[in-house]
């Protein structure tokens, strides 16, 4: 009995999550689309994510560029540090920092907001008034997270490459011209497009998990806290899994190197 209850609970949560996902996807093209909510949520996610993005992108790339340059200097190939910086930033650091920011900043804020509304029974009130909370609240949030994730990933790549440039040129004495020249050797438009696709997938998954956790909150302040905690953990786990699969697919589709 206890065993079956222990197994049934996570399975039920899993099923509910897919129900919410299915409803959200089905309601996306349905009118009326909640434009106002979409715009205000996009602005909200962008606002909470912008500063963490900048602050995370710089240490991540600097650390990667530093480690990679040590290796290149040892090989006597420091001129290629731009190639390493561009490839690392576009293919891995860009998407991963976007993941961290979208789930750590955007999804947590979204889940806390929806969770508080659920606790205050605002969602039930909406249902009573004949408004579907999935259409009016979840759909715009998921789309907002997707949009902002794509925009953020571009920002991360830009900030990362600029940070890597300054670190390589001023601290590790790479010549600026060869850094810029070598940037495009192994990184082309294909990889940038893959980075955008990854970011869109991340944003959508993070938005769905955050909204599901938010609308299924129960049990007062501790419940909201735990829901946000679970959102962070589940989004990280999901997004790292998506990242490895997307990387493997993109590597076999467009190749990894020269």
């Amino acid at each position: 009995m206890t065993f079956s209850a222990g197994v049934a609970k996570p399975l039920r949560a899993f099923g509910e999550f897919f129900t919410v996902t299915g409803q959200t996807l089905a309601l996306m093209p349905r009118r009326p689309f909640a434009w106002r909510e979409y715009l205000s949520q996009s602005w909200f996610v962008a606002r909470v994510s912008l500063l963490p993005t900048l602050l995370l992108a710089i240490p991540f790339t600097v650390l990667a560029v530093f480690t990679f340059n040590l290796l290149l200097v040892e090989f006597g190939a420091a001129d290629y540090s731009g190639a390493g910086a561009a490839d690392g930033t576009v293919t891995q650091i860009g998407p991963i920092v976007t993941v961290l920011v979208v789930s750590g900043a955007g999804a947590t804020a979204m889940c806390a907001d929806l969770g508080a509304r659920t606790i205050r029974e605002e969602l039930d009130a909406l249902r009573v008034m004949g408004i579907n909370p999935i259409q009016s609240l979840v759909v715009p949030r998921v789309l907002a997270a997707t949009t902002v994730a794509v925009l953020l990933s571009s920002l991360v790549i830009l900030v990362g490459i600029v940070g890597g440039f300054f670190f390589s040129v001023y601290f590790q004495n790479v010549s600026p011209g060869s850094f810029v020249n070598s940037m495009t050797i192994i990184t082309g438009i294909g990889k940038v497009v893959v980075a955008w696709i990854k970011a869109a997938l991340f944003g959508m998954a993070a938005g769905l998990i955050a909204c599901y956790k938010g609308i299924s909150v129960g049990g007062g302040p501790a419940g909201v806290g735990n829901a946000v905690n679970e959102t962070v953990v589940y989004t990280f786990v999901t997004l790292f899994a998506i990242n490895i699969i997307a990387s493997a697919v993109s590597v076999s589709a467009i190749g990894a190197g020269v």
Binding site: T67, L71, E74, G104, A112, A222, G257
Partner: protein, 285 residues
């Protein structure tokens, strides 16, 4: 009417900006004070609240609530580092193969996993599991006025709640980081030798040649440093949560944001301090 009120009424905008700055300064000061008190009370927590510390160690290792169902923080840390270790195989092997040097994937695993990937991934996983859990617990206690009740009963709340969690976090991080390193090495090796069909002898040769034991020890030191920082940040945000149920959620979000940034910076500066410009690395062995 004092001079200050007159000035405030005459220049409302400037006053607001200055008040904002002063508020920021006060907040930073309060945070620093909290961190100082927490660290100073660590001795107290070890002597007086031994049972609580032990209970927290057990809880952090295995997780509570829904997290325990998927295996707690150990499983999450293991899973995330497994994913990033596999990235070394996917990205590293293919990149090296494009210059026909795929034999060096073992080297890439030994070098990048130890210095770069595992510390960053472990920091992320720690902040998400142990850290965010601590914020959620402390925040709920603060909202339910349990922390005030502790103070009234004469229990030193910072020592009992924050310092014990810092100690527990630092102790738990050591086995967790062992899991993280093992998972990232295993995943990179499995991906390279099993999926991309490299011979295990080649992989192991380059892996063992370039795995520097002192780097591993420094990597553990990084894990230790980031555990302290993450636990301090997360206990602060939980301890000072305000604003009802929504406030707890917001506190968790804010704590995750702050601790990700701070732990990335800590790892960066610790690596720069350890490896320096020379890099403590010789290709010749």
């Amino acid at each position: 009417m004092s001079a200050a009120t007159v000035i405030a009424a005459r220049y409302p905008r400037i006053t607001r900006t200055v008040r904002g700055w002063v508020g920021e300064g006060v907040r930073i000061g309060e945070q620093t004070q909290f961190y100082g008190q927490t660290i100073a009370a660590i001795g107290d927590a070890l002597f007086r609240y031994k049972t609580e510390t032990l209970r927290l160690i057990a809880q952090m290792g295995l997780g509570t609530g829904a997290l325990a169902l998927i295996g707690g923080s150990t499983a999450v840390v293991g899973f995330l580092t497994m994913m990033t270790g596999a990235l070394v195989a996917v990205q590293g092997y293919n990149l090296l193969a494009s210059t026909s040097t795929e034999a060096l994937t073992g080297f890439a695993s030994a070098f990048f996993n130890v210095r770069l990937i595992s510390p960053l991934t472990a920091a992320i996983a720690l902040a998400a599991t142990i850290g965010a859990g601590a914020t959620a617990q402390l925040g709920a206690m603060r909202i339910n006025e349990e922390i005030d009740a502790l103070e009234v009963m004469g229990i030193r709340s910072i020592a009992y709640l924050a310092s014990t969690r810092v100690i527990a976090g630092v102790i738990v991080v050591i086995p967790l980081y062992c899991v993280a390193m093992l998972m990232s090495f295993t995943a990179a090796r499995f991906g390279t030798t099993f999926i991309y069909d490299q011979s295990t002898g080649v992989y192991d040769h380059y892996f063992n040649t370039f795995l520097i034991p002192t780097d591993l020890i420094w990597s553990f030191f990084q894990a230790f440093a980031m555990a302290v920082v993450i636990m301090l940040v997360h206990t602060y945000y939980g301890y000072t949560a305000t604003g009802g149920p929504a406030g707890v959620g917001e506190a968790v979000g804010r704590a995750v944001r702050t601790s990700l940034v701070v732990s990335a910076l800590v790892i960066l500066f610790v690596s720069l301090a350890i490896y320096g410009r020379g890099g403590n690395f010789n290709m010749s062995g």
